[in-house]
């Protein structure tokens, strides 16, 4: 059974049945990565393009490994080494890539809506959003959901607290959307300067008090603090930020005993999270990375399955 849409542009348009399908498929794909020979012929002859306009290590490698383990041919196309740096527009790039007949383009772009623009101009080729500006990062939310479900056995009814710079976080938006759809109790926490207007529309509870967010939490999701934004007066200093919204052992004791601590990476040790917690028993940060490959394998497989169905 393929996904309901041609593309994966965000969690917003994704039905619960698709989310279920991706998570279940990811569990079976995860087994492949545990083998000595980590490759299956499923997508042999298919072409996957990684179109990354923003620097990324984790997400790009994860997609690339996912494609390779499914035997697809993958190509990395990054902003600095391509005609993008010569001023080619996104639409021109899309038209050119489309002429090479790839099956999937995975895009990361600083501009919200860039994957939507690409999808409009690249014909039958499927588009996966690997992060667009401050908008969405759907594969991150899906791998987070897989990680939580593995540890807790469910998503429904869990208290999940997302803490940090919410305004600039596509991870926060996609996660809040997905967790709400799956029935979790979502809490959003950070300084008011970093929480956008009406974030409650995602169905979560907003608080500026970290202890309230942590109290009785099943899952704590810390977001990366974008240090380069410091000059924009969102908070006075990293020191004060850490004292108010950094995660340490003492604050974490307000959460449930079996709480899990997550982070989409890359971590700023000592800024938003005490290294002791990041490396500690409650942290599932590296499992998130492992699950990232499995979730992306599932999505590549399901999207290409869908286009195959469509061509019949």
């Amino acid at each position: 059974m393929p996904l309901s849409g041609k593309n994966l542009l965000g969690i917003a348009g994704l039905p619960v049945s698709d989310i279920r399908l991706i998570l279940n498929s990811a569990r079976s794909f995860r087994e492949i990565s545990a083998r000595a020979i980590k490759k299956v012929p499923t997508l042999r002859g298919r072409t996957v393009i990684n179109l990354f306009y923003e620097p990324s290590t984790r997400t790009r490698s994860s997609f690339e490994i996912a494609a390779k383990r499914l035997s697809a041919d993958s190509l990395n196309f990054s902003a600095s080494s391509s005609s993008v740096s010569k001023g080619e527009t996104l639409i021109d790039t899309a038209l050119n890539l489309q002429s090479m007949r790839p099956d999937i383009i995975i895009i990361r772009h600083k501009a919200a809506g860039a994957p939507h623009l690409l999808a409009k101009h690249c014909g039958d080729c499927a588009v996966i959003n690997a992060g667009d500006g401050m908008h969405e990062h759907p594969t991150q939310a899906l791998l987070d959901a897989l990680t939580i479900e593995d540890k807790k056995g469910r998503l429904e009814g869990l208290k999940v607290s997302i803490i940090g710079d919410i305004t600039h976080s596509r991870v926060a938006r996609s996660n809040a959307l997905l967790l709400k759809k799956m029935g979790a109790d979502v809490w959003i926490c950070g300084p008011p300067t970093l929480i956008p207007i009406d974030f409650e529309q995602y169905g979560g509870t907003v608080t500026y008090d970290m202890l309230e967010a942590l109290s009785g939490a099943d899952v704590v999701m810390m977001l990366r603090t974008q240090l380069e934004r410091q000059q924009e007066v969102f908070y006075p200093s990293v020191k004060e930020y850490f004292s108010l919204y950094g995660l340490n052992r003492k604050k974490l004791s307000a959460a449930k005993k079996d709480v899990i601590v997550m982070h989409p990476g890359p971590i700023n040790r000592g800024v938003e999270i005490d290294p002791e917690i990041a490396d500690g028993d409650l942290s599932v940060i590296l499992e998130q990375v492992t699950n990232g490959v499995a979730v992306r394998m599932a999505i590549l497989y399901l999207l290409l399955g869908a286009s195959e169905e469509g061509s019949k």
Binding site: A12, T89, L90, I91, H109, A111, A112, G113, A114, H116, L117, D132, G133, M134, H135, E136, R170, R173, P196, I197, D198, F199, Q201
Partner: protein
């Protein structure tokens, strides 16, 4: 040529007139109103079933010339204006170079004379190069033909400079037209800040950034006694501030653009850059406020903020695309279909909003069909059905969010200084 417009409904609020009458245009002036028998040698135009009104005036247009002729020229903008039923337009100074001195004002007027279609009234810059720091040579521009001053698009941030500009403009009694935006607060936002910007992940600029500058201008108008005109007002709170200022008798007026009473920020969900402009599309509540302001008289004019761009400026991601939409060729049908036909405003009120008031604010000595006035006339067919087709526009630009809309009521005859410059009468 003597022209007799026969059998139309004449709407002229300046003389409190709304009745069936013939209109005689002779030697570029309105010669006679009433029942007029045709004479040998006159051009007789049957306009029965149509509305005959003083030529419409769009006091907020960007013509892009000099400097950005690839977007629009004075000639193509003039054609778009008359096709849209406008007989006069005021053009903003953010050209390249900026219209901040007599030579540029003269250049624009010369180009307008060559195009020879619509009356073009240049707006001079407040500050040199729109730099917000040094006053432009306002007196020389006004002497040459500028009718107002504005730093539209790059609003003066420094309150002292704005005070001095307002004081200085009193010598010439020209209004100061202000694009109201506190740029620090707007912080390079690309859409209205609110529920939708949070959802779509685009940087927002809050309506307070507009309101703050509107309130500042009202205060400075009170201090200096200068006439201040708020350009393209877009949010409820800013309009309330203008309403209160008017109640206090201050010399403050404002205009609204069709997109700000027709569209909301929910359109931005499509990420289509043709919904990007500044001020941005606001919320449904703001749209309702604009419509009540049009009906109750707190809004003085409808102006399009016609902002032509080439596709290369718009075929980009939403945040990389240029601000602005075009409006000259859609304004009348939108107003007719959505305000007049729905009885939000009367035809007389429409003429006030689109002719009489802009004329008064800019001191144009137009906006009426009184005997002896300049023969600028617009004729509207209230039943004409159109489907907006941007590909057929007279304007060079295609950045129109109303493409494909079906509307009823359109301009069919445009007469400037007694000469027919646009005719779509069947």
């Amino acid at each position: 040529m003597t022209i007799l417009l026969k059998g139309g409904e004449v709407v002229d609020p300046a003389q409190d007139l709304k009745k069936k009458a013939d209109v005689l245009l002779e030697k570029g002036r309105v010669a006679k109103l009433g029942r007029i028998a045709a004479q040998e040698g006159w051009r007789v135009v049957n306009v029965s079933g149509m509305y005959v009104m003083p030529g419409l005036i769009d006091m907020h247009v960007h013509l892009r010339e000099p400097g950005q002729e690839y977007k629009e020229t004075i000639e193509t903008g003039s054609r778009a204006a008359v096709a849209g039923g406008f007989t006069s337009i005021a053009c903003m100074p953010n050209t390249e170079p900026v219209n901040d001195c007599e030579a540029i004002t003269r250049y624009i007027l010369e180009k307008a004379r060559q195009a020879n279609l619509v009356n073009i009234h240049p707006v001079g810059a407040i500050t040199k190069g729109l730099n917000g720091k040094e006053l432009a040579e306002i007196g020389e521009m006004v002497r040459t033909g500028a009718v107002a001053i504005s730093d539209d698009g790059k609003p003066v941030q420094n309150n002292q400079i704005m005070r001095r500009a307002m004081e200085y403009s009193r010598i010439f009694d020209v209004p100061v037209l202000d694009h109201c935006e506190d740029c620090d607060l707007a912080a390079h936002g690309v859409m209205n800040e609110g529920t939708i910007s949070t959802e779509v992940g685009l940087r927002g600029m809050h309506a307070v950034a507009e309101e703050l500058q509107v309130v500042r201008d009202i205060m400075l108008s009170r201090l200096t006694g200068t006439r201040v005109h708020i350009c393209h007002i877009s949010c409820e709170e800013a309009l309330n501030a203008v309403r209160e200022a008017k109640a206090k008798g201050l010399r403050v007026t404002c205009e609204v653009a069709p997109h700000h009473f027709m569209l909301t920020d929910e359109n931005v969900r499509t990420y289509n850059p043709d919904y990007r402009m500044n001020p941005p599309l606001r919320t449904g509540r703001d749209v309702e406020a604009m419509i009540s302001g049009l009906a109750d008289g707190s809004i003085d004019c409808i102006a399009t903020d016609h902002a032509p761009h080439a596709r290369i400026d718009k075929d980009l991601t939403f945040e990389d695309a240029a601000n602005g939409v075009i409006g000259l060729e859609t304004s009348v049908p939108l107003v007719w279909e959505h305000l007049v036909r729905k009885e939000v405003i009367s035809v007389s009120r429409m003429v006030e909003l689109m002719s009489l008031n802009p004329s008064r604010i800019l001191g144009l000595d137009r906006g009426t069909l009184k005997v002896g006035s300049v023969a600028d006339v617009t004729v509207i067919d209230p039943e004409k059905e159109i489907t907006v087709d941007a590909s057929q526009f007279e304007s060079k630009a295609r950045n129109c969010p109303f493409d494909g809309w079906q509307l009823r009521g359109a301009p069919v005859l445009t007469i400037v200084k007694g000469r027919v410059v646009w005719n779509r009468l069947s």
